[in-house]
Symmetry: C2
Subunit: 329 residues, 2 copies
DNA sequence: TTGTAAGCGTTATCAA
DNA sequence: TTGATAACGCTTACAA
C-alpha cells in the first residue's frame, strides 16, 4: 500500500500539498494538483482512514447500537440510517447490544474508542441516567425509541403508550371484552409503555386488567405461540389478543390454529410495529405502525446537522403511532 | 480522554510498560502492574483503538459486506458471524452493497481502508475474477454463498442448484405437472443456480420448461405477489409455484388468496431459505433449508483460524440444502 | 524486567 | 501557494 509520502515523492511536492489536494482544504496550484493526482493514479494510492482518523480526530463513521442484527425491526432502522448517511459519504459501524446491559455498554465503549463521530443508540437496558451522562461526553449521541426529557433534543421517539392504547381501544370498539395481552419483556421500556396503554384503554372502558390476562413474552414468534399455550392451558377465556409486537402476533396466530381457533374469526389479533411481512400473513395483520425506518432517517439527519454542520430539512423527533387496519381483527 | 502517556506518568513507569500490561505482551513485575492498573482506574483510561490499529496494523475488526441491512436472511448471517467473533473479542463492521457493483466495490474499499483484519463477503454483483484478485491482496477474505474453484478454501457455500432441484423434485413427486417458477433476479448467481435446478428436475421428468413459466422477481414479497398477478393475467395455468426464496413465496401465497386460490389446497407453494417466519405462515411454508446462520458461524471460524491463529474445531465449507416439509405443498 | 526511541500514515501549525 | 515539522496515541525493536 503506497502512502502519502510516496505520492509526494513521485509528484515532487511536499506531504502537506498532497494532503491538501486530498481534502481540498486549501488552495493548491492546478499544476501541482495535477501532478499529485497523476502520482496517486500511478501508484494506486488509497488513503488510510485509520491514520486520517487518528490525525484529524474525525472518522466519518457513525456508530449504531441495536439490540440484534437480525430482526426486521432493527433491519429497517439500520437501513434508514445507512441510506441517509451514505448519501453524505458517512459510514456506519454497527454493533449489537443483545438486550443486556453489559454488551450494550461494551458496544458503546467500542464505538467510542473506534473514534466514531457520533452514536445512534437503540438501547434496551441502559438507564436514562447513563444515557444522560453519556450525552455529556464528547461524542454526540442520538437516542432512538426512548424519550428522555433531560435530553429531549437528542431523542427520536414514538409514543408507545399511545400505540398500546390505540390497539386496545380498536379491539374494544369492536365489542370484545375478554382480552389478553402478550407483552414484550418487562425489562424493556417500550414493552412497558405499550402495556400501560393497554391497561389504560381497559380502565377507561370500565374494565379491570387482571395479572393473569398478561403474558410476558420476549418479542419473538415462539413466545407468541407459548403465550397461547399458556392462556389455553390455564383455562383463560379470551376473544382477542393484543400483542407487544408483530412477531409475537404471528406466532400467536399460528398457534391458535393448532387449537382450532381461527385468527380473526374466532379470535381477534392485533400486532405492533407493522413490519414488512405483516401485510402478507393470513389473515393479514392489523397492527400499529411504527415508522422506524423513517425515524432512523431522522436520527441520521440530526447527526448530519449537529456533527457535520450539513444543512438538512426539518427534523421530526416525536412520532405518533397510527392504526393499520387489516384482516386479523 | 487520558492517554497512555498520562497513565505512565501517574504510575511512574515508561510508556512501554503501560503498553505491556495492556496487552500482556511481556513480563511486567507485579508491583508495576499494579501501579499501572491503579493509574488507569484513577484516570478512567480507555485505550484508543484507532491508535492501536495504526501502530499495530491490527484492528481486531472484521469487515462484512452484505447486500442489505434489513432482510431476515442477511440478519441471520450477520448474527451468526458476530456471535462467534465476539466470543473472541473481535468486532464486526458492516457495510451494505445494495446489490450493485459500485456500492459493493466501494464497501470493500471502505472496509479495507478501515484496516479490517479480514473481510467476509456476500457479494451479489462482483465477478468471480474480482474476488479472486481481491483474495490475492493483503487482506484475507472469506466468500459466502458462492463457490469459486480457484479460491475454494476461502468459500463457504451451499449447493443452490441442488436446492432448486430438490424443491422441484418434491413438487413433481406430489404429482404436479403444471409448475411455474418465481425466480430471483437473473443478476444473482444463487438465483440462477436455483433456477437451473428447477429446469433440471423438470427435464429429468421429461417435461420441458418454457420461458413463460418463469417470472423474474427481486426476492422481495411484493414481487412474489406481482408474479401471481402476471401468471394469472397471462392466462398461464399452474397448480404449483416454486419460489426463489421464502419472501416471494409468502407474497405469492397472500396474492393467491386474492384470486380465490388457497395455497396448499389449490396451489402448492414451495420456498427457499427457511427463514424464521416460514414456520409461522399459513399454511406453514414448505421450503429448502439454507443454514445461513451456521454458515456465517463457519465463516467467522475460518477467519479466527487463518487470521488470528486461534484453534477452532473443524470448519465446514460446503453445505447441502435439505427439504423442510410443512403444509404449503 | 524496564526504558528509549523510532515508527504507523495522516493532519495541522507555522513560516517562508 | 508551498514546505518543514510537530502532533495524534499507541506498538515494538533494541538497549540497558
Amino acid at each position: 500500500m503506497p502512502t502519502i509520502y510516496e505520492v509526494s515523492k513521485l509528484a515532487g511536492v511536499s506531504l502537506a500539498t498532497v494532503s491538501r489536494v486530498m481534502n481540498g482544504s486549501a488552495k493548491v496550484s492546478d499544476k501541482n494538483k495535477k501532478k499529485v493526482r497523476d502520482a496517486m493514479d500511478a501508484l494506486g494510492y488509497r488513503p488510510n482512514s485509520v491514520a486520517i482518523s487518528l490525525a484529524s480526530k474525525r472518522s466519518n463513521c457513525i456508530g449504531i447500537l441495536v439490540a440484534e442484527l437480525d430482526g426486521v425491526f432493527f433491519g429497517s432502522m439500520m437501513t434508514g440510517i445507512e441510506k441517509t448517511l451514505r448519501n453524505h459519504h458517512k459510514h456506519v459501524v454497527i454493533t449489537a447490544g443483545h438486550s443486556n446491559d453489559f454488551d450494550e455498554r461494551e458496544g458503546i465503549e467500542f464505538l467510542k474508542s473506534r473514534n466514531c463521530d457520533a452514536l445512534i443508540i437503540h438501547a434496551e437496558q441502559l438507564s436514562d441516567d447513563y444515557l444522560i451522562e453519556l450525552s455529556k461526553g464528547k461524542t454526540p449521541i442520538v437516542v432512538v425509541n426512548r424519550f428522555i426529557a433531560a435530553i429531549k433534543d437528542k431523542c427520536i421517539s414514538l409514543d408507545n403508550l399511545k400505540g398500546g392504547y390505540l390497539a386496545t381501544q380498536f379491539i374494544l370498539n369492536k365489542g370484545h371484552t375478554k382480552l389478553v395481552n402478550i407483552s414484550g419483556p418487562k425489562s424493556k421500556n417500550d414493552a412497558n409503555d405499550r402495556l400501560l396503554g393497554f391497561k389504560q384503554a381497559l380502565r377507561e372502558q370500565g374494565l379491570v386488567c387482571e395479572e393473569h390476562q398478561i403474558y410476558e413474552g420476549n418479542y419473538l414468534q415462539e413466545s407468541g405461540a407459548a403465550a397461547i399455550d399458556h392462556f389455553i392451558s390455564a383455562g383463560i377465556a379470551f376473544t382477542a389478543v393484543v400483542c407487544g409486537n408483530d412477531q409475537m402476533a404471528i406466532g400467536a396466530m399460528a398457534r391458535l390454529r393448532v387449537y382450532q381457533k381461527n385468527p380473526s374469526e374466532d379470535v381477534a389479533v392485533i400486532g405492533f410495529d407493522d413490519v414488512s411481512f405483516a401485510a402478507c400473513t393470513f389473515p393479514t395483520l392489523t397492527t400499529i405502525k411504527y415508522p422506524i425506518k423513517e425515524m432512523g432517517n431522522q436520527a441520521a439527519k440530526l447527526i448530519l446537522k449537529e456533527v457535520y454542520n450539513i444543512v438538512v430539512d426539518d427534523i421530526r423527533q416525536r412520532y405518533e403511532p397510527s392504526l393499520v387496519e387489516r384482516d386479523s381483527v
